[in-house]
Symmetry: C2
Subunit: 418 residues, 2 copies
């Protein structure tokens, strides 16, 4: 296993942990898969499905050989993350008019978001290196995941959180797990820039997705999906695009599986951004090579409210190489799709629903065919952002709490009324 610069290829020392190469490039973990046998590994992974009380009961560490083979089991900090539901919903499928639809609910992770898949690896790696203080900049999901794992490891967690356009629930969750939460005037992007420059000086272990071990852990989402589908993935996998670590990890995980012979063909990947925070979609749709950050990103989907996504070049390369697509959707479209996902009984936070809104759009644009099969990755739990429900459902009058006396007449009227 090596840590190399994604841009210039220079190898970095693991003990001397940095997050950017001296050339400015992001780092990447490169595994040596020589000698690994796909059929043997598949059998091993199948056996581990019945684990419940060891580290291999985790939906991340069950694929340890492909994620961090060298880490000692005793360094692993796990909450049996992953193992999330892969659902079909006839309601959503038929509303979208697509042949086959899957929803992979990373929202069911222990802290309620897909961040847990990567965070368990970052915290475990940082602990093995001897760090005591773990930190991140976050719109909320990363910080609550960080705080949860740091608490499990009995380490200190510090979350840098923009003061605006974040979900209060996520901040409360972060505080409850015992993290120090530091608000600042600025955006997620400002926080990331700051840590990239000064994180080392501060002596903290940074758990944002610029940390390549986060990416290694997040690969497990698509491993798990593939394993559940007997190693035959749908035509498309659709994910929301915020910091773009998701598409980076998805791409890397797919690449691993193709290389090792777990899967025979590469599915296409679509990245959906919110219109008010869509620098990646703008770059890709205009055929540009470089990302122009959005200065003041703004969307109701707080988890995607990122104007300068760190992992854009990795994401660009992967989509270009594999025929992927991007699109952007409005806040209104996101909330409509969210209502559909919630009412299907699956439920998610706004950013996750962007995937369903995106499928709608990509079908209309004839980029996804109605005869194809699609899997959307739901990244965050419905309970993560109830402020948005309060605004959207209650204040906008889309739903309401009815009132009745406890009499048969009064209830009958409300029950039979539409």
């Amino acid at each position: 296993m090596k840590i190399v610069c994604y841009e210039c290829g220079k190898e970095q020392k693991d003990g001397n942990f940095v997050y950017r190469c001296s050339c400015g490039g992001l780092l990447e973990v490169i595994h040596d898969f020589t000698g690994l046998d796909a059929e043997k590994l598949k059998r091993l992974f199948a056996q581990r499905l019945s684990e419940r009380m060891s580290v291999y009961a985790s939906g991340v560490w069950s694929y340890k050989e492909l994620i961090h083979p060298e880490l000692a089991e005793s360094d692993i900090v796990t909450k049996y993350e992953g193992n999330t539901g892969l659902y079909r919903s006839e309601q959503i499928r038929s509303a979208l008019g697509i042949r086959e639809l899957w929803l992979k609910a990373q929202s069911e992770n222990p802290s309620g978001s897909f961040k847990d898949n990567g965070m368990t690896v970052a915290i475990s790696h940082g602990r093995a290196l001897g760090f005591e203080r773990f930190t991140c900049t976050s719109t909320g999901n990363t910080s609550s995941s960080l705080a949860m794992y740091a608490a499990l490891a009995e380490k200190e967690a510090i979350a840098l959180v923009p003061r605006k356009q974040i979900s209060l629930n996520k901040v409360l969750q972060t505080l409850a797990y015992g993290a120090k939460v530091i608000g600042f005037d600025g955006t997620y992007d400002d926080g990331i820039r700051f840590y990239e420059r000064y994180g080392r000086e501060l002596g903290v272990y940074i758990c944002n997705s610029i940390n390549p071990f986060r990416i290694e852990g997040q690969k497990s989402i698509v491993y798990e999906m593939a394993q559940s589908l007997n190693w035959e993935l749908p035509d498309w996998i659709v994910i929301p695009g915020g910091a773009l670590s998701n598409v980076t990890a998805l791409g890397k995980g797919l690449q691993d599986m193709l290389e090792l012979g777990f899967i025979r063909r590469m599915p296409k990947v679509a990245v959906v951004q919110a219109e008010g925070a869509s620098p990646f979609h703008m770059m890709m749709s205009q055929g540009k090579r470089n990302l122009e950050p959005v200065e003041r990103p703004s969307t109701i989907a707080s988890a995607m409210n990122i104007g300068n996504p760190p992992s854009w070049s990795k994401a660009r390369d992967f989509l270009s190489r594999t025929g992927g697509e991007t699109c952007s959707v409005t806040d209104e479209e996101i909330m409509e799709a969210k209502a559909l996902v919630d009412r299907s009984g699956i439920g998610c936070e706004p950013a996750s629903a962007a995937t369903v809104a995106g499928v709608w759009k990509l079908i209309a644009e004839k980029k996804i065919g109605a005869e194809e099969s699609v899997a959307c990755i739901l990244t965050g739990n419905l309970l993560k952002d109830t402020d948005v429900l309060r605004e959207y459902l209650l204040k906008d009058g889309r739903a309401q709490m009815l009132a009745a006396d406890l009499t048969v007449e009064s209830l009958e009227r409300l029950i039979r009324g539409s």
Copy 2:
């Protein structure tokens, strides 16, 4: 499988679904376990641990033979509930000063509470009977679970919710899943009384714990715990006491396992109530046979804010037979225990933390010995009640969002400061 009155033993017809016997007693499902072989079943249950995409991937339906053997698989409405983490926490164990401590996190269920274990069975049973409208009275957790499963089954959900002392998040979750939410002036107990009398007239399928199929599903919590611990349970299992369906189900599940030879000895069970809503503890500690309802129950732990628990006689009998204990804890003790559970990285809602507060008290009262082993059942997710976090953490100044400029100096001060 028979449905009989718990009080007078009269058998009821399943198709003609009622919730109370004509004598006023609660109903109970009685299985005929003749011919079941414990060792064979253990092997079957072990095999099913590796299921991911069938109904047997559920942590409830994986024990179908002991829960509802007759139900057709095609009637099952599941979201792979159960399969929750069974954790150790050295922080909590040492704070309590007990030899061994386990925490069973039903908070990790798909709707975020232990209600899912029973609800999947109730909704599946009601669907098999042909019902279109499903309802409950709820302080919030039952209603969101009901709404989620009804949405999955494409059926209508109606939640009767007291207007006071409930968690807004849970109401929003219920609304988001598409349920009709009807507020009324009164308590949970008023709602239950109403449905017991008029539910049938209204033609709705009632999913409260007076429904014996809820209890059957909830038995799976202790099956799963036992299976994870290789069929050797701790000395004590501690649960919060609200409607008391939890202790009823726990008792029934333990009884099943002892009868079938899955376990060799019966662990003791302790029920913890909140001081402001502790009619069951009062009855038990005063050695009375009958429950005196608390007229105006009041506790910060909204999930336990119940003054007239329906399942009290089943709970009484089980505890009396097996040497169980009860105790009550103050809201302050609950919130202290919650801080401990949250800061351990596991996290829960207030009612769940009452179990940890209860262990503390029962050790002090020498009812639980420090050399014994204990498992606490955490019933609800940390995100279920963020209002209480807002009040307790932010307004009370126990935690705060710090503020800093993005400079090394400013952050260093906050990071190194205690």
